[in-house]
């Protein structure tokens, strides 16, 4: 089957199966039809096809609305991590069910005291009879309220430097001692959760990678996270954004030349980023891996979003901050893009260190045992 046929078959299938009654039922049907895990190994439930098919399906899917949000963490981060670092038994146990939507996954790395500095986390796992006992708190966890399983990074050794005393587990989110609490954010809604672990028991067979080698597993996960963010940035969603150039030039009075000039500025910045993203996509297609350059796209998107929302409210005036006006809502949501997936400062560090190869900061936390390190209380 050539790509054109593949595409039209996919389109036909989606047209027939959408809208779906229920996300889990849809996911199972998607897997049965061969569109879940397109590039994943057939051995574990994937389709064993190439990036070409995956891209073709993604392009077609963009015209539909797929109810797959609750599976996105599993598909984008946890699954790829299991494929890279799981044992055969773990892959057997988890991957197919993940692809079929039978189990929903979340990712448990960030803590209140460890944001940009993920490896500074403090949730601890202690060895006990038959496994591990986990205590601590995680935060900024998407879809945790729906999740059956979580990829959990814990501290197992405080006598070594911080990166060297972490261990990764799969945790049953329904286990006793796991509490999920919605976290209300500045938009007034709860887009994320806090998770509390109180003497939660995890069998040792749920460990991913070696004891104290969890950081190398986490790096795999974070790499997949960054790829799944940067591949999406700036490519879509413009139409629904009230602070996009298109929406603003339709909604504000452009009689004033100064207003027109500010809209031109928004246009210029938007086009600049859109074209950069297109170039990155073309490079990826041509086999040139964007790597850390994706961080530039992420940083630019965060800044553009902030700029657009600010400009939109300023142009619209007092009405934009009352009555739940979409521009006010956009302003309240804008910081999310600058904070999630790495702050603007972290992005600039990545670009400086890994794209421009500038010398690193002196590290005060590299060779200090974790117990002696300055951390947040």
């Amino acid at each position: 089957m050539d790509l054109a046929e593949y595409r039209s078959a996919a389109r036909a299938w989606l047209a027939e199966n959408l809208p779906a009654s229920d996300p889990k039922t849809f996911m199972a049907a998607l897997h049965d039809a061969g569109y879940s895990g397109i590039t994943w190994p057939a051995e574990w439930g994937g389709q064993g096809l190439t990036q070409a098919e995956e891209r073709a399906f993604a392009a077609v899917a963009r015209d539909f609305s797929l109810p797959t949000y609750v599976f996105s963490i599993g598909l984008g981060m946890c699954g790829p991590t299991l494929l890279d670092r799981g044992t055969p038994a773990q892959k057997e146990r988890y991957v197919r069910r993940l692809l079929r939507g039978e189990e929903i996954w979340c990712q448990l790395f960030s803590e209140p005291g460890a944001g940009s500095d993920v490896a500074g986390l403090q949730a601890k796992a202690e060895r006990v009879e038959g496994g591990w006992l986990v205590n601590g708190q995680k935060v900024w966890t998407s879809v945790a309220q729906h999740a059956d399983l979580g990829l959990l990074l814990t501290r197992t050794n405080v006598d070594v430097p911080k990166h060297k005393g972490l261990t990764m587990f799969v945790v049953d989110m329904h286990a006793p001692g796991v509490t999920v609490r919605p976290l209300r954010d500045m938009t007034g809604r709860s887009n994320f959760n806090e998770i509390f672990f109180d003497d939660v028991h995890i069998p040792d067979e749920n460990r991913i990678g070696d004891v104290d080698d969890g950081w190398s597993v986490a790096v795999t996960t974070l790499l997949h996270e960054r790829l799944s963010i940067s591949s999406g940035v700036g490519m879509s969603g413009q139409r629904d954004d009230p602070s996009s150039f298109e929406a603003l030039s339709a909604s504000v009075d452009t009689g004033d030349p100064v207003v027109r000039d500010q809209l031109v500025e928004l246009y210029v910045r938007s086009r600049a980023l859109a074209l950069f993203n297109q170039r990155l996509a073309q490079e990826t297609k041509a086999g040139i891996f964007p790597g850390a350059r994706g961080s530039a796209a992420k940083l630019l998107l965060a800044e553009l979003t902030s700029f657009g929302a600010d400009l939109g409210v300023s142009l619209a005036g007092p009405e934009a901050v009352a009555d739940g006006h979409p521009l006010g809502a956009a302003l309240a949501l804008a910081p999310a893009l600058s904070l999630g997936g790495g702050t603007n400062e972290i992005m600039r560090n990545i670009i400086g260190d890994r794209v421009l190869n500038l010398p690193p900061e002196p590290r005060v936390d590299k060779n200090v045992p974790f117990k002696d390190l300055k951390v947040n209380s």
Partner: protein
Amino acid sequence: MNLLLTGEQRELRAAVRSFLTTVNPRDGYAPSGYERLNGELGLGGLIVPEEYGGSGAGHRDLAVVLEETGAALLPGPFLATVFAAIVLGELGAKEQLAAIAAGTPATVGPLWGGGVTESGGALTGEALFVNGAEAELVLVRTPQGVFACRGTASPVETLDITRSQARIRFDGEPALALGELPARASDLIAVALAAEQLGVLRAALAAIVEYAKVRVAFGRQIGSYQGVKHKLADLHCALEQAESIVRYAAWTADEDPEELPKAAALAQAYVGRACFQAAKESLLLHGGIGFTWEHDAHLYYKRAKSDEVLLGPPRIHRAKLADLLEL
């Protein structure tokens, strides 16, 4: 020209600041708190002439107070009442000034755009009023002048939860004519708002400076990284300039009526922008915690933006400057 605070103004500031430590910006309008504010501290009638029961203070004193109420994100109709007092003062409306000095919460609106008209002594239309639901004395700007009139107020959802607004509807209610709004009143309102914005700026910056001293990442306090430090240094520069402009604008309000229009537009053009920038950077540099509902960073961010557009799209202040500078 004097840009420094007097000893008395420092005392006033300390008294207000001390009072405001008990305020929680999320609590909404607390009439009992306002009783103390108006009574013991005498802030309600601060700029009302003594003959009408006020303190007869100047706009420099007012700016000192508004900087503090801004920094504390004081909820309730304090700023709205100040705006009303400014308008009434310029109109010489004795009876209403006396009411304000006696503690009557008031407002004036719409602050931007129109919506209400007068005909035969009655008002018709609808517009947004800051603290419109809490105000007992409502001053209405119409093409026919300013009127005092109670309409039907319906609170609206606001981005800034620390400052309520209401849409007030007028269906032919009889209104008391108070006269044409003097241009000077708009300038004084702009200066008063800038003073509040200076307070918001200062508080937002102070919050992130303190946090940067204690929050640790990669084994050291985040304030030790130039990526954070240099941003905060730039915001400090903005704060120094904003304070200088507010002191100057308040001085012109008291002492140099001819320079007031330019100073007022300058204050809105500079301080409004600087305040939002500081609140935004403060929120972002707080990291994830700054994005939570429980943390106050978003209250400053939203107040800053709401203030920046309170008198209209910010470009109007720049356009006014262009005119005044005869460009």
